[in-house]
Amino acid sequence: MEYFLSLTITGLVMGIIYALMALGLTLIFSILGVINFAHGEFYMLGGYMSYFILAVVAGLNPFVAVAVGGLIIALIGLIFELGFLRPMHLGHIERPAEYAILITFGLSFFLQNLALATFGPYPHRPPSFFEGSVDLGIIRIGADRLTASLLALALLAVLLLIINRTWIGKALQAVSQNKDATAIVGINPLRMNTLAFGMGVGLAALSGALLAPSFSITPDVGAVPSIRSYIIIVLGGMGSIPGSILGGLLIGLVESFGAGYFPDPSRALNYKMVFGLVIFALILLFRPRGLFGRREA
């Protein structure tokens, strides 16, 4: 029983952070209708940004570095959206659905190699938030990881608050439900798009920055979180915010229990990835709207 609980905690701790990143992806999909194939690379950039801020400004509070890093990456996302995604919504692009896939995939290719060329292949690690680990009785958790998880939880709460209680949040919700109607009431959907993209990649960047002290960063560190995020939003329902949160927690638990209980321990870790992908493929085939998504129009 204790083992089960300890695995549950491990799964949830990571799951919250997965949810934060997936929320960013689902937000982008919900508002822009685009799957951001470069989501993992923004995660990676967030980690590098926080590392470099701390390297350049010695003695800075690591939490400030995370926040600033996230903000800078969000701004970069904003600029990309303006230059390369907005034309899609202005009708300048033929076959926008395919364009969106290719351009974000191309961005992913570009950013990964840019990071490799700029930062080199060696791993980097920003200083810890807190050293050591925390004893919770059934399990000990690394202090950095727990901090990241708690902060992610706080960010999720703040985000939910923004989306449900503020004007901006409601405007975003409106755009996700019905673009034309929103435009009629005077909200500029194009601006909402840009904002949503910036927020979405900002969330990915924050996840990356939060986890950097725990796992270190390399240029390809975003590849696995990227695929995991796709799995989560498909599981939870593309465009559904509660779906991405629940999906994140679920995937965290699946990874934890998968490795913890798979009968053949020698293969358990490897097949963790395959499980996720197979679930993913099955959902796409049999219940594409996932847990909470809307039916396809």
Binding site: I103, G106, N113, A281
Partner: protein, 393 residues
């Protein structure tokens, strides 16, 4: 009923038919020039560059077949390298586990074929062949089966996978298609890596060379070139035939095409199967050329490279995609000293091309030479009208 002349557009809705004829002729001219250069290249190019070109032809087959699937049929699949890998690993595994013997082993699974036995080795445990050798008559010959059946099987396996995937993704919108094919590719790669007892995983699976008696690359060079040319000719023919016409119609407006009587399901799946088989073909010959396979041949960045080649060349023109692949592969090699920055440049080029030059960089260049400028808005009507003519009974 309007008699359907194979290939060329019959009547046209506007004045574009002359333009299209010119465009096709230009493509032929360019193709012939490039082909001639390719044919005589071994005379003045060093051995290492022959290798670069062989790999370039390999990528050209993949880029052009991907552009058939994506540009013509509108299916932006990320499973292309997976089909290629299926072809490659099929021949690799056959070579690893199959033998022909003049006498039965008694220890391995085997089936009699005339005077010979086809023996299947086991992946786990003691090598059943070695165990069986003790009891086999002296002078028994045990050898690898001929390569040709393996090649055919490799292509078929890839085609079957294409059939399965193509059928599954029929109803999928672009984003879901992309995600699903990525998942398929990664699952396959993880499986290959995860079962090294069968596939040798990262250690590398050895494959017989196509021309074992020579150290020269020249036979491989002409073989790969011949395959590239044959694939392109086949795809050209396909694109100019009714099938190509229907595909274009489906791409432009699936519902309208269906309303006109085009069997959307059939043609979409058919394209998947055909392009998967072409990818498998490329994979089969890659395997017999580099003679060592690892799961790295199908990592996502490789798929990204093929896509980049097709797009920069011109995703709606098979020839432009193929030549794009050649130019990019050669450039990557020439820019070797820039190491990681090479790919940064191509990534940037890809993004910029997508944004500002949807038809690629090469295709418009070739069209410039022909004095033709395609009118995107009319394509839809044109395609629909052509289909209408074709299908009307």
């Amino acid at each position: 009923m309007t008699a359907n002349t194979e290939g060329t557009s019959t009547q046209s809705t506007g004045n574009n038919s002359t333009g299209r004829r010119l465009w096709f002729s230009t493509q032929w001219v360019v193709a012939v020039i490039v082909l001639v250069i390719a044919l005589i290249a071994p005379l003045f190019v060093q051995t290492y560059w022959l290798h670069v070109l062989i790999i370039a032809y390999f990528y050209a087959i993949l880029a052009s077949s991907w552009s058939l699937l994506a540009g013509y049929a509108g299916q932006f699949s990320f499973a292309h390298m997976a089909f290629m890998a299926l072809g490659a690993y099929t021949v690799g595994l056959l070579g690893r586990f199959l033998r022909l013997s003049t006498a039965p082993t008694g220890t391995c699974a085997e089936v009699r074929l005339g005077n010979l036995w086809l023996v299947l080795l086991n992946a786990v445990g003691d090598n059943c062949l070695e165990v069986g050798k003790a009891n086999m008559p002296v002078g028994t010959l045990i050898y690898h089966p001929p390569l040709v059946p393996g090649i055919i099987l490799g292509i078929l396996v890839a085609g079957l996978a294409g059939l399965a995937i193509g059928a599954l993704v029929l109803r999928f919108r672009a984003a879901y298609l992309a995600l699903f094919t990525i998942a398929f590719s990664e699952i396959l790669r993880t499986l290959i890596r995860g079962e090294p007892q069968i596939t040798r995983g990262d250690h590398g699976l050895r494959v017989a060379a196509l021309f074992p008696d020579t150290i020269s690359r020249i036979p491989y060079y002409y073989t790969m070139l011949a395959i590239l040319v044959a694939s392109l000719l086949f795809m050209f023919w396909l694109a100019r035939s009714r099938v190509g016409l229907f595909l274009r119609a489906i791409r432009e407006d699936e519902e309208a095409a269906a309303a006109r009587g085009v069997d959307v399901v059939r043609y979409k799946v058919m394209t998947f199967v055909i392009t998967a088989m072409l990818a498998g073909l490329a994979g089969v010959f890659l395997a017999h050329y580099i003679t060592i396979l690892s799961p790295n041949i199908m990592v996502l960045p490789q798929m990204g490279l093929v896509i980049a080649m097709a797009i920069i060349g011109g995703v709606e023109s098979l020839l432009a995609a193929a030549i794009g692949a050649l130019i990019i592969q050669v450039s990557l090699e020439l820019l070797r000293e820039f190491e990681a920055w090479r790919l940064v440049i191509f990534g940037a080029l890809l993004i910029v091309t997508l944004r500002f030059a949807r038809n690629g960089l090469l295709a418009p260049l070739m069209q410039q030479l022909a004095g033709v400028v395609p009118r995107p808005e009319s394509r839809r009507e044109e395609a629909a009208a052509e289909v209408g003519e074709e299908v009307r009974v």
